[in-house]
């Protein structure tokens, strides 16, 4: 029911929205919850387990009951708190976790069996017969459980992530936070003031009190002007600080566009990483419910929330409202209601010495012990002076006192401290380095004291920031704290809910204690109390108190569970903003990318790079046709392949050669300038890290190449070796992978092609195998390396990257005139397998130089990284699997990578396993499949036959073990 003249909503702007298909009206500034209450809608959801009818309990982000699906289609968002979702024109809200309409949820049948469905019942049953768990029990449980439903489609919304930096982060813009922000801003500090509500003011928006002689809402508006005047406060509304992390880093979720109809120019949410020099936590306090029997009906809500609906939204949640409390504060609700002309049937205060603060009926020393009303509250039963009375009421406002919002102070593992005065936990001092908790979240409830605490907290922060604090006058305000009595639960007939969201009742806690789940962690995990969307904000205190009573301990001794980030649930879309689709990782393109794509080559991922799989020619319909042609082209004429993705590290200095001697197993100091050498690099644990060629351009200048995959790892490794282990070496190096475009020119016509291109022709004498040096390409200074990854007479030519595209097109055109053309990764792979060259398929991190037959490359005359560890007993010897070549000789002439190897007559089981296949190709050169693999004692077994078994692909065949170099083992062609 809307109250005329009350509230901070904008009555000039009516808004229509729909809930479960029915159209309702509200005003700008309303939440779904306030607007529904204004329309007399009280049933807003169903509970998790028993599917009980539920209405709104709170007016904040801690709401456990009124969770809804907002939006339609792919944009539908489940589990949205109706208490936080602002309405906008056309908003669609839908109740969730129900079968059938909300008022006739079929699963409410569960509510008939509370005894059977109590805490942990599922641990004791559903065990027989075994197969029924996956087939029957679990599917039924899963369908009944859960809350809202995902749409099943990609989230179409826009999200952003951002960083922010400030001297002081003020968390919460109630009286404490506002004063803290103003004090710090006036000292010249760069301040971020964040509040999860749409407007500043915090609790003041819900109260009728005065500050500085003004209604608090006016005072807040004035403060906003003052803060803006300072010019150094960034005000972030609708922004919840979600987590406190190391080093003054805070996570924050800003609801940028969720309160508007679709606005494509705005993200829905932005996830902030705020780095703050200091922080003031002014997060306020949360009211706690009272656990009396049948306390979960729609219409039963927190007293403070009733004030919020009344004063902030101008809504009376009922016509006959009753109060049930154990503290003074709740009496304000009665006064405000009466002031607004709402009937207050009674104030039921558990304290025998409670006194009425206004003109209402007070039942002191009384308790509510029951309620009735199927889909909404109709009546309550009160126990008073030994009598039981029934009171007809449509709204019960309850208050069990307040809990300081200590959550963020627990994020770094600190445990809050029990405070008997306020009957609640307060933050441990120093819980989060650089963060000062102040005001209600530190257990200070009187408004004037909060204002003062805000100033003091800012001063503390300013001191730590090395800034002097200005004098800030604290305005006059109420200094009433109000007394509170501990009342955690009321016994009686029926269930009394603690955790509304997870349907945990006092009986469940007692059952846990009875079964000896006495540790607070055991109780939580057994009953699931505190594990629902509200993270126990509404229930932890009472559950803890009940457990303490049930186990005969005090609350402080019983201890608490820990609050973990995030403070409010954060969407994956927000925290992962930008990572959807291709955004997950950067894309690296070679200079030949455009020309390659233009030729129709399918691009495949190689680390972050894209490389062509093959270049389809006219008439080719399968990759194999293209691949076979490209292989033959390289073997018979000439092929062009972009190899720029290989890591290139430029190494210079007087000790460059000595440095390479230390990182490679073999010698580089003996390499002559103008020559290239293959190098093998080990990890310090003796296994192969990477391989590649390194060219010596001059005495003091080398260019190292790494594999594409290991380029980053090798660079990090070289930096480590130099800075940490060999600072004595005068050497400098830098990655030049991006700076040079490099192309392989491979095949018997490669020199012919080059000589048509280079400004000065080359010959075999000046450019023998493994030669390198400068060349001029159409006047551009480039480098030429006579190296081969195909076994053919081949070169790699490098030019500055800006010429890469032009050179690639030129090379391909020239190759085509010679009967050649470009080739892709598939052909490259076939060529290297035919030649027995290894890639990371073979050097997969578990192999040693011994395993790949390169132990003689570990130079005996010097130390190098990995040498000592490679000598360990377990890393050499006939038990090791060694690199071999494989040729199919069985009936099936095919091999597959990933197959395992066995003796021909052995069962293909683990104990008989002799090795495995790492790389396989169909070799057009040999007209057969070829494989590389690892076999126990393989080098001694060339010529033997083993069985190749691939269970997964259903392939079993025999193959002959041979040397891994199938093609031109003498190396005549590379030298040709």
């Amino acid at each position: 029911m809307r109250i005329e003249g009350k509230g901070l909503i904008d009555r000039a702007h009516p808004v229509r929205f729909r809930f479960d298909g029915v159209s309702y009206g509200g005003f700008e500034g309303d939440t779904v919850a306030s607007a529904l209450l204004a329309n007399g809608v009280r049933l807003m959801g169903r509970s998790f387990k028993y599917h009980r009818p539920r209405g709104v309990l709170t007016a904040g982000s801690e709401e456990p009951n009124a969770l809804m699906e907002i939006g339609t289609g792919a944009a539908r968002t489940p589990n949205v708190r109706a208490t936080m979702q602002e309405i906008y024109e056309g908003l669609e809200a839908r109740s969730q976790n129900r079968v059938g309409p909300l008022h006739r949820d079929l699963l409410s049948i569960n509510d008939l069996f509370p005894g059977v469905l109590g805490a942990g019942f599922y641990y004791k049953t559903f065990m027989w017969p075994r197969a029924f768990w996956e087939k029957l029990y679990e599917p039924v449980i899963r369908r009944a459980a859960g809350l809202g439903a995902l749409s099943g489609q990609p989230d179409p919304g826009r999200y952003e992530k951002a960083f922010a930096h400030c001297d002081l982060l003020v968390i919460g813009a109630g009286p404490t936070g506002l004063m803290a922000a103003l004090t710090a801003a006036r000292a010249g500090a760069d301040v971020i003031l964040a509040d999860e509500n749409a407007r500043l003011g915090g609790r003041l928006l819900s109260e009728t009190e005065e500050i500085g002689g003004k209604p608090s809402a006016l005072w807040v508006a004035d403060m906003l002007d003052l803060l803006r005047d300072t010019g150094n406060v960034r005000i972030m509304t609708r922004t919840t600080i979600t987590g406190a992390y190391d080093g003054g880093t805070y996570g924050a979720l800003e609801r940028v566009g969720q309160h508007r109809p679709e606005t494509p120019d705005l993200p829905l949410e932005c996830f902030w990483r705020i780095h703050a020099g200091q922080a003031v936590l002014a997060a306020g306090a949360l009211e706690r419910p009272l656990a009396f029997p049948m306390n979960d009906r729609p219409g039963i809500m927190l007293a403070g929330a009733v004030r919020t609906y009344l004063n902030r939204y101008g809504v009376a949640p009922g016509r006959n409202i009753t109060l049930f409390a154990c503290n003074d504060d709740a009496h304000r609700t009665a006064l405000d209601l009466i002031e607004a002309g709402i009937r207050v049937t009674a104030v039921i205060d558990s304290r025998a010495d409670a006194t009425a603060q206004g003109d209402y009926r007070l039942l002191a020393g009384a308790q509510v012990i029951h309620s009735k009303g199927r889909r909404a509250l109709r009546e309550i039963t009160v126990r008073h002076k030994g009598r039981q009375d029934t009171i007809l009421t449509d709204c019960l406002a309850m208050s069990g006192g307040w809990n300081p919002s200590v959550h963020l102070t627990c994020h770094m593992n600190a445990r809050p401290i029990w405070n008997d005065r306020i009957k609640g936990f307060v933050p441990a001092p120093g819980a989060v380095p650089g963060l000062t908790a102040a005001g209600a979240c530190a257990g200070i409830y009187a408004t004037h004291a909060c204002l003062t605490a805000g100033v003091d907290a800012a001063k503390t922060a300013l001191k730590a920031l090395g800034k002097s604090a200005p004098g800030v006058a604290v305005p006059a305000a109420s200094d009433q704290t109000g007394a509170v009595q501990a009342l955690w639960y009321v016994d009686g007939k029926g269930r009394a809910w603690l955790d509304f969201a997870n349907d945990v009742t006092t009986k469940d806690i007692r059952l846990a204690a009875r079964e000896n789940f006495r540790s607070v962690e055991h109780m939580k995990r057994y009953t699931t109390q505190g594990m629902a969307p509200d993270q126990g904000k509404n229930s932890n205190m009472a559950a803890l108190a009940l457990l303490a009573d049930a186990t005969g301990r005090g609350i402080a001794e019983t201890g608490t569970t820990t609050y973990r980030p995030p403070y409010v649930p954060v969407s994956i879309s927000a925290m992962a903003a930008g990572a959807g689709g291709k955004g997950f990782a950067p894309e690296r393109f070679t200079t030949s990318h455009a020309a390659t794509v233009a030729r129709g080559a399918p691009m495949i991922e190689a680390g972050l790079w894209y490389r062509p799989g093959y270049f389809p020619a006219r008439g080719e319909t399968t990759w194999r046709q293209s691949c076979d042609r490209e292989v033959a082209m390289v073997r018979d004429a000439v092929g062009i392949c972009d190899v720029s993705t290989l890591g290139k590290i430029d190494i210079q200095g007087p000790d460059a050669a000595a440095f390479l001697d230390f990182v490679y197993t073999n010698m580089f100091s003996t390499l002559k300038p103008g020559r290239v050498r293959y190098g093998l690099m080990l990890r310090e644990d003796g296994h192969v890290m990477d391989d590649g060629t390194t060219a010596r351009l001059s005495d003091t200048h080398f260019v190292m190449t790494t594999t594409t995959a290991a380029a980053g790892q090798v660079m990090t490794h070289l930096d480590f070796v130099h800075q940490a282990l060999r600072p004595d070496l005068d050497v400098r190096f830098i990655s030049v992978t991006e700076h040079w475009a490099q192309f392989a020119i491979a095949g018997p016509r490669s020199r012919d092609l080059l000589n048509s291109l280079l400004d000065s022709p080359i010959d075999g004498e000046s450019w023998p195998f493994m030669a390198c040096g400068p060349v001029s390409v159409h006047g551009v200074a480039g480098r030429l390396f006579r190296i081969s990854f195909s076994g053919e007479h081949a070169y790699e030519i490098a030019v500055p990257a800006r010429y890469g595209d032009a050179l690639f097109r030129d090379l391909v055109a020239r190759a085509e005139t010679l009967g050649g053309g470009p080739y892709g990764m598939e052909a490259l792979n076939v060529l290297r397998i035919e030649k027995g060259f290894i890639t990371h398929a073979e050097i997969h991190g578990r192999v040693t130089a011994f395993d790949i037959g390169m132990e003689r490359m570990i130079s005996p005359g010097k130390d190098c990284i990995g040498k000592t560890a490679s000598m360990r007993a377990g890393l050499t010897g006939p038990e090791r699997e060694q690199l071999v070549g494989l040729k199919p000789v069985g009936a099936v002439k095919q091999l597959t990578s990933g197959a395992h190897l066995f003796e021909p007559d052995a069962d293909p089981v683990r104990v008989n396993d002799l090795g495995y296949v790492t790389s396989v190709c169909f070799s057009p050169t040999f007209g057969t499949y070829l494989g590389l693999g690892f076999l126990k004692n393989g080098r001694a077994r060339h010529g033997d036959t083993v069985k190749h078994v691939d269970h997964l692909r259903g392939l079993e065949t025999l193959c002959e073990i041979c040397d891994p170099v199938f093609f031109d083992p003498e190396g005549a062609r590379v030298r040709g």
Binding site: F163, Y245, D246, G247, G248, T249, R273, H275, M412, P433, E684, D685, G712, T716, D719, F720, H722, Q723, A724, L725, P727, D728, D730, R732, D863, K867, T868, A869, R872
Partner: protein, 92 residues
């Protein structure tokens, strides 16, 4: 977590990668024996409290750093350039 790189200043930890304990600075001689190498490569005191680790400012200046840190609180106590500890120079 934030780390103050001696060269670049106060930075978010996401600019860095970590290798492990500073033990990795004390590479044994090739003939130091199996036990010394076992200590170097594998065995760790693994303190619950103050420790010193080697971090790499890969998204920054490429310096290796020794970071003194508390493993219980994640407090960063001191950051040194590895080059300063090993006697390397600062030409770049």
């Amino acid at each position: 977590m934030r780390i103050t790189c001696p060269l670049c200043g106060d930075r978010d930890s996401r600019e860095f990668s970590i290798r492990g304990h500073e033990t990795y600075l004390d590479r044994p001689a090739p003939d130091a024996g199996e036990a010394a190498w076992d200590n170097y490569l594998h065995l760790r005191d693994n303190p619950a409290g103050e420790t010193a680790e080697l971090w790499y400012h890969g998204a920054g200046c490429a310096a290796w750093l020794r970071v003194r840190r508390n493993t219980l609180t994640h407090e960063v106590l001191k950051v040194d350039l590895v080059r300063d500890l090993t006697g390397g120079d600062h030409a770049d």
